[in-house]
């Protein structure tokens, strides 16, 4: 076993894939010097033909990657800021994603888009702190949000190898997570397969990304009163509905914690599906950012908008009580 950080896991996954497959190339802003510590050492190793520092032209280089992928390459794009994904929504959702269907299966677009540091990074304010994973899940772009170092490694590998576009969100709150990892066991993690981090029998908590750590904290806090099962979907689209059903059908109670806006968010989708298809014995709850939230700058305000461990704890207790 070795100690591996989430950030190192991302770095290692990209380095391993670039070494394994010469069609993998990486594009992005300031990646030559690795400002986000993911592309570290890649320029020196593979040169500027495979590690491309781009001008600040997100829309052009995103579709540029689509063209390169249509011609046989496997580009990976680093976005410094999650909100840049709004800028390139046309290029991903309306171009890259649609080529396979629109061409009747003639074309594939194996591009990976990744954001190292999505969500709030304290003090980055309104335009740098979003978590737009729900948007991509909604339009049908494969979307993954790993929560642990081994999943960061495995899902990044899978994303790069996948023949469709995949967006990988690495939450800012996860980058510092470290884990004891069997390095030899590191490998691809399939899309659409969730992971139960802690088994329980009373309440299922579905936690997305960095909130898995908060959910594990709540489960520990409540251990002598409520048995909490922590379910991490790992990929939001495709979603492991069967895995969730297995958990919810056992506990009968569901709370979702999701660091994105409430309206039309992934938490709402999970609740709706559970209500339609699973055996709930109590009304479920979700803990999210408010409707239409824009993260305010001041730390107190920023924190007031994000889901917190205390709110999750309260929600779990309420759902547990309401069924008795």
């Amino acid at each position: 076993m070795a100690r591996l950080s989430y950030l190192k896991a991302l770095q290692r996954a990209l380095a391993d894939e670039m070494a394994r497959d010469e069609n993998v190339c990486v594009l992005g802003e300031d990646i030559g010097v690795a400002v986000n510590n993911v592309t570290t050492g890649l320029l020196a190793k593979h040169g500027p033909a495979r590690v491309v520092d781009t001008p600040l032209s997100e829309q052009a280089f995103t579709s540029f990657a689509t063209g390169a992928a249509l011609a046989g390459l496997r580009p990976v794009i680093e976005f410094q800021i999650p909100s840049l994904l709004f800028l390139v929504f046309e290029q991903i959702a309306n171009q890259a994603h649609k080529f396979s269907l629109m061409t009747g299966g003639q074309a594939k677009v194996p591009v990976t888009y990744f954001v190292p540091g999505s969500g709030s990074r304290s003090g980055w304010a309104g335009q740098h702190s979003d978590h737009p994973y729900g948007l991509f899940a909604h339009v049908g772009v494969k979307t993954v949000v790993p929560a642990t170092p081994e999943d960061a490694y495995g899902l990044f590998l899978t994303a790069i190898r996948d023949d469709d576009p995949v967006v990988l969100f690495a939450p800012a709150g996860s980058l510092g997570v470290r884990g004891d990892v069997d390095m030899d066991a590191l490998g691809p993690v399939p899309l659409g397969v969730g992971r139960v981090h802690r088994e329980g029998t009373d309440v299922t908590v579905v936690a997305v990304g960095h909130l898995v750590q908060a959910a594990l904290g709540v489960a520990e806090q409540l251990a002598d009163q409520i048995s909490v099962e922590v379910f991490d979907p790992r990929s939001l689209y495709p979603f492991d509905w069967a895995g969730l059903a297995a958990s919810v059908n056992k506990t009968g109670r569901l709370v979702v914690v999701d660091d994105s806006n409430r309206m039309c968010g992934i938490a709402g989708e999970i609740l709706a599906t559970a209500a339609e298809e699973m055996r709930l014995t109590a009304p479920p709850k979700r803990v999210t950012r408010p409707d239409g939230a824009v993260l305010p700058f001041a730390s107190e305000l920023d924190l007031a908008v994000q889901p917190q461990q205390e709110q999750l704890l309260t929600a779990v207790q309420e759902v547990y009580k309401s069924s008795r």
Binding site: F61, L70, Q95, S100, T103, G105
Partner: protein, 330 residues
């Protein structure tokens, strides 16, 4: 050599012309749903540029894309089947007029978003360079696209990285109904020149002139000389979209349209051919289009059960909604 290329240019233009005319008939007959953006009047541009290309070169096209797709070598029979939404179409009936593609011929598709193809073509050009190939890529777009930011960003990338891409701006005078004078400050070629991209303006109604310009640009690209830009001016004879045939939007005077139509690219180039040769090509094209129409209308329609086939290259399927694809509400 010149004679042969003159015949081929004419044949391509005649094919595009008759394809479009037959397609318009099929729109009005209700056989093509949603309508089309006719390319009539601009045939010399697609024919001239594509005559300078090889099969393995790449093109990206526009919403007004039939001419480019045909000139690059797509089968007109399967193309018409695509427009009529048939399972035998180029895209198996999943793309239609605005997304017709044939990757086997380097045709990365018509595209429904103005200016979107430029960066895609440029990325494909980059892939060619990385592969060590002398392939080039061509991005066709209209005068409306030069107001799209992403295209200007793309000029910068292509010039910066000296990529073998040819930008072809088809200036037909109108972005839907907005004139170039109303939409373009400065000049169209000036945009390319600002990035150090060699730019020329040619008569887009003269296929031979377009071919000459395209040959220079393609040679530069193959030799590692970087991107080129051609502004080809021509007149759109028909509507922006067949929708106009019924909507009767007025934005061009009858006099203007008549003057524009008086410079017919088929006649401008047609006089270079022997009359008998021209008549022979016309007859061949007529027979081919008759075959295409018959094939399209006789072809099976796609099975609704396959509406989501090819949504993902990996074959992944999400959940169904509540519609025809569901046998029952789960």
């Amino acid at each position: 050599m010149r004679e042969r290329s003159d015949m081929e240019l004419y044949r391509t233009m005649r094919l595009i012309r008759r394809f479009e005319e037959r397609a318009i008939e099929l729109v009005h007959a209700g056989e093509i749903v949603g309508g089309i953006h006719p390319y009539i009047g601009q045939e010399a541009i697609a024919a001239g540029v594509c005559a300078a290309l090889r099969d393995d070169d790449v093109i990206t096209s526009t919403h007004r894309g039939h001419g480019h797709v045909l000139a690059k070598g797509a089968d007109p029979v399967r193309m018409l089947a695509e427009l009529t939404g048939r399972a035998t179409g180029l895209n198996r009936g999943r793309g239609g007029s605005m997304h017709a593609a044939d990757f086997g011929k380097g045709i990365y598709g018509a595209n429904g978003i103005v200016g979107a193809g430029g960066a895609i073509a440029t990325g494909a050009a980059w892939a060619a360079v990385k592969e060590g190939s002398d392939r080039v890529a061509v991005s066709f777009f209209g005068d409306g696209a030069v107001s799209q930011g992403v295209l200007l960003e793309t000029f910068n990338l292509a010039a910066l990285w000296r990529l073998p891409v040819l930008f072809v701006c088809e200036n037909n005078g109108y972005a839907t109904t907005l004139t170039v004078a109303q939409s373009v400050a400065g000049s169209i070629t000036g945009r390319a020149e600002a990035f150090g991209i060699p730019a020329v303006s040619v008569d887009g109604a003269d296929a031979a002139a377009v071919l000459d310009a395209a040959r220079d640009a393609v040679a530069r690209g193959r030799a590692g000389g970087g991107p080129s830009f051609i502004e080809a001016t021509a007149y759109r004879f028909d509507a922006h979209h067949t929708w106009e045939h019924k909507a009767r939007v007025r934005y061009r005077s009858d006099e203007e349209v008549a003057a524009g139509r008086s410079r017919d690219p088929l006649d401008i180039h047609g006089v270079r051919l022997d009359e008998g040769v021209r008549a022979g090509i016309d007859a061949d094209v007529e027979a081919l289009m008759a075959e295409a129409v018959a094939f399209a209308l006789d072809s099976p329609r796609p099975d609704p059960a396959g509406a989501l086939d090819h949504l993902y290259a990996t074959g992944m399927r999400g959940r169904n909604g509540i519609g025809l694809l569901d046998t029952a509400v789960r």
